[in-house]
């Protein structure tokens, strides 16, 4: 418990070096993410886009690891504390996969059985209106009108089919 003076200093230097290292890693990862993001803007290949998105997710997880492990100091805690934090987080695996799975299944269902839903996804809106600026002055009453008129183009009258 009682470190000698030099021990303490060595420990300090070590900690500072670690902070510096993690800062650099986080910055580099963020820059890589941004580069990938810029690259993706002009990309048309869907599969390549998907691969890049996967890479970005991995980088995201790596950043999260460095923040939790070093900035939040979890790596230097007692192993039991680490386990009680990390093990419950595994619940997210099923949380995420079941939700997204059912989400995409819901889309397929609607595309199969809800013609209006499917049709809407094919009608392109002619021109992007440029008078967004006007919308903000009209106040809150205008927001519902705006939303309705936007949908009117694609939607006649919803049939109560259920």
């Amino acid at each position: 418990m009682s470190h000698s003076h030099t021990d303490q200093e060595a420990h300090n230097a070590e900690a500072m070096a670690e902070i510096k290292k993690v800062t650099i890693i986080l910055s580099v990862f963020t820059i890589i993410e941004l580069i990938l993001g810029f690259w993706m803007i002009s990309m048309t290949s869907v599969s390549l886009k998907l691969a890049i998105k996967g890479t970005i997710v991995i980088l995201m997880m790596a950043k999260a690891f460095y923040i939790v492990a070093y900035f939040m100091h979890l790596k230097h805690e007692v192993k039991n504390l680490i386990m009680t934090i990390v093990v419950p987080l595994l619940l997210f695996v099923w949380f995420i996969s079941a939700f997204l799975w059912d989400g995409s299944s819901f889309r397929n269902l609607r595309n199969n059985y809800d013609p209006h839903f499917k049709e809407q996804a094919t009608i392109k809106v002619e021109q992007k209106e440029e008078e967004h600026g006007a919308a903000k002055h009209e106040g809150s009453e205008a927001k519902h009108e705006g939303a309705e008129s936007k949908h009117e183009t694609a939607k006649p009258e919803p049939a109560p089919y259920y």
Partner: protein
């Protein structure tokens, strides 16, 4: 100054303060804004009992409608006013009663009233701590719950009535003001009340976890903890990890209600209003979010009862609990599985069938730890020297109900069967037996068993026996027939079955169920009388350890003050289940292990 030294300096300082510092208690600090975990436990218990009476009364009222759909009760109109025009409950009032009954009993009685009471009361006493890790947060936890209660209560008195869309609050009924009268102010109050309740349970849960992990007395290793504490620990973990998801769902719901968003709304046409502009949301999303809390919630309700039953059973069988480690393992397994099975409540929503089958598999896995626990309880009883105290009877009743209700869970866990049985009275019977009545039995067992520690007096035994026998017989008489009604296709939440030819055959049975429900409710009043009479006039406890139990709470004075132990906190040398060992009837945890003792735990 090193880190560790700081910690321990801090810790022991805290203890000293609790131990020797004499508070000058006023009425306000002792009974109202108390930071003593024992007083907070009593506050939770009594608030929970008030809610139990209100919730029970609501069930009596709607059972009256179901049992006597054609009769008119003039006194109802004077009680409920416009909600019972002409002495008959209106459909709106009926739905409001059902909804509030569900919400109140699930959250306020069986969550706050059960784990709030016993976690607060037992954790510091049984792990050997002066108080909770943070007594102040503990007090806040109660007052958040109290505020939530008041808001929920006030929703009963708004002009449009309380929320009436079912305790699960599915959108669009909960998301649109125009959906029903109860969806207006009543729903706003419902959401606010639930949000405060989430905060309360988080504050409580964090405290319970920190106390169990950090504040155990010397020698109280994790495997020497009584099973009550383990159960309450997993309960707290479940609450801390699942209630936030409900909170998120509620926040999105608030935006849908008030800010024109469409998280849960799509393709909605409201009579008299027209087509709504809300597009692209998914009502199923809310169900996912709700049940991600909702299913762990079932175990938040059940686990404390399981823990207390284990403890009470071992004490009153004068035998060690059978399979301590298996009990722990099954608690752990249940806690994990609780998070993985939520969508079995949603088999008929249009859930992806393949995903559904994964949920079936995970759901049926719960049968394994549940069966382990049941067999362990039965083998604990086996050849025990059983003392049939009222607490013990309720514990045995819990096991009986848990088996009866759990078996139907296997039916409902199968998607193929559930699609037929969903939203029928079969489901009502299942969850009332396995989680409603069973947990109530756990709570009663706990109250009868720890009442001497809480108030220094005994409850009246004869009244306790009447209470037990009427309640268990009544519970089966009420809910057993509902299985048959459900199999015959009788749907839940209907206002009046007499207008359907196919359900006319059940008119007699419905009347029978309603009558029994009223008798059982009246018996609970008997318990209340017993409870409040005994606080003031009950037979006084004269010995430290009236049940001859091993756990630490019985080493405190008969009426422990704030700080629990007047002197040092006792050190623990053994597990809490050394009953009938080496010729001793019981060996308290504080007794050091003798040199010639046979294998210690």
């Amino acid at each position: 100054m090193s880190h560790e030294a700081v910690l321990h300096g801090h810790d022991s300082h805290g203890h000293d303060e609790h131990g020797h510092h004499e508070h000058h208690d006023t009425f306000l600090t002792k009974y109202v804004f108390s930071q003593d975990h024992k007083m907070i436990a009593k506050q939770f218990l009594i608030t929970g009992m008030v809610w139990a009476v209100l919730g029970g009364l609501m069930s009596v009222l709607f059972r009256l409608q179901l049992g006597y759909p054609d009769a008119s009760f003039p006194w109802l109109e004077s009680l409920l006013g416009k909600w019972a025009k002409g002495g008959q409950i209106t459909p709106e009032a009926y739905y409001a009663l059902v909804t509030t009954h569900g919400t109140v009993l699930v959250f306020f009685v069986l969550t706050a009233g059960l784990s709030g009471t016993f976690a607060n009361f037992l954790i510091p006493l049984q792990v050997g701590a002066r108080d909770m890790a943070s007594p102040f947060m503990n007090m806040l936890s109660y007052w958040f719950f109290f505020t939530a209660s008041v808001i929920m209560l006030s929703s009963l008195f708004v002009e449009t009535g309380p929320f009436s869309g079912g305790w699960t609050a599915y959108p669009p009924l909960s998301a649109l003001h125009d959906a029903s009268p109860g969806s207006k102010t009543g729903m706003d109050l419902w959401i606010i009340s639930m949000a405060l309740f989430v905060v309360s349970s988080l504050l409580g849960g964090l405290n319970y976890i920190a106390t169990i992990l950090n504040m155990r007395t010397k020698g109280m290793s994790m495997t020497r903890l009584p099973l009550t504490i383990w159960a309450l620990f997993f309960t707290a973990v479940l609450g801390v990890l699942s209630f936030p998801v409900l909170l998120s769902g509620m926040i999105l719901l608030i935006f849908d209600r008030n800010f024109g968003t469409s998280f849960y709304l799509s393709d909605i046409y409201v009579n008299g209003v027209g087509a709504l502009s809300n597009e692209g949301g998914s009502a199923i999303l809310f169900q996912h979010l709700f049940w991600f809390l909702g299913h762990p919630e079932v175990y938040i309700i059940l686990l404390p009862a399981m823990g207390m039953v284990s403890e009470i059973m071992s004490v009153n069988s004068r035998k060690p609990i059978f399979g301590y480690m298996a009990m722990l393992g099954s608690l752990f397994a249940i806690a994990i599985l609780a998070f993985l099975v939520w969508a079995h409540h949603m088999f008929v929503t249009g859930l992806n069938p393949f995903l559904g089958s994964v949920f079936v598999l995970l759901t049926l896995l719960i049968a394994v730890p549940s069966a382990i626990k049941v067999f362990n309880w039965l083998t604990t009883l086996w050849r025990g020297n059983i003392r049939f105290t009222p607490g013990m009877l309720f514990a045995i009743g819990f096991v009986s109900l848990f088996i009866s209700g759990g078996l139907t869970g296997i039916w409902l866990g199968n998607a193929a069967l559930d699609i037929y049985l969903h939203d029928s009275y079969f489901v009502v019977a299942h969850f009332h037996i396995v989680m409603g009545v069973a947990s109530m039995f756990g709570m009663f067992a706990g109250v009868y068993h720890w009442f001497p520690k809480m108030y220094g007096r005994y409850l009246n035994n004869s009244l306790g026996y009447i209470h037990f026998w009427v309640t268990i017989a009544g519970a089966y008489l009420i809910f057993w027939p509902m299985h048959y009604q459900g199999l015959a296709g009788m749907p839940r939440r209907y206002f009046d079955f007499s207008i359907w030819e196919s359900f006319k055959q059940f008119a007699e049975l419905n009347r029978f169920i309603s009558t029994v429900a009223m008798i059982v409710f009246a018996t609970q009043i008997l318990f209340l009388i017993n409870f409040f009479y005994s606080i003031f006039k009950g037979r006084k406890v004269t010995v430290l350890n009236p049940w001859e139990a091993n756990t630490l709470e019985w080493t405190t004075p008969i009426n422990p003050g704030h700080g629990n132990w007047p002197g040092e906190i006792p050190e623990v040398h053994r597990w809490p289940y050394d009953y009938g060992k080496d010729g001793h009837d019981f060996i308290p945890q504080t007794t050091p292990v003798g040199a010639d003792e046979t294998g210690t735990h």
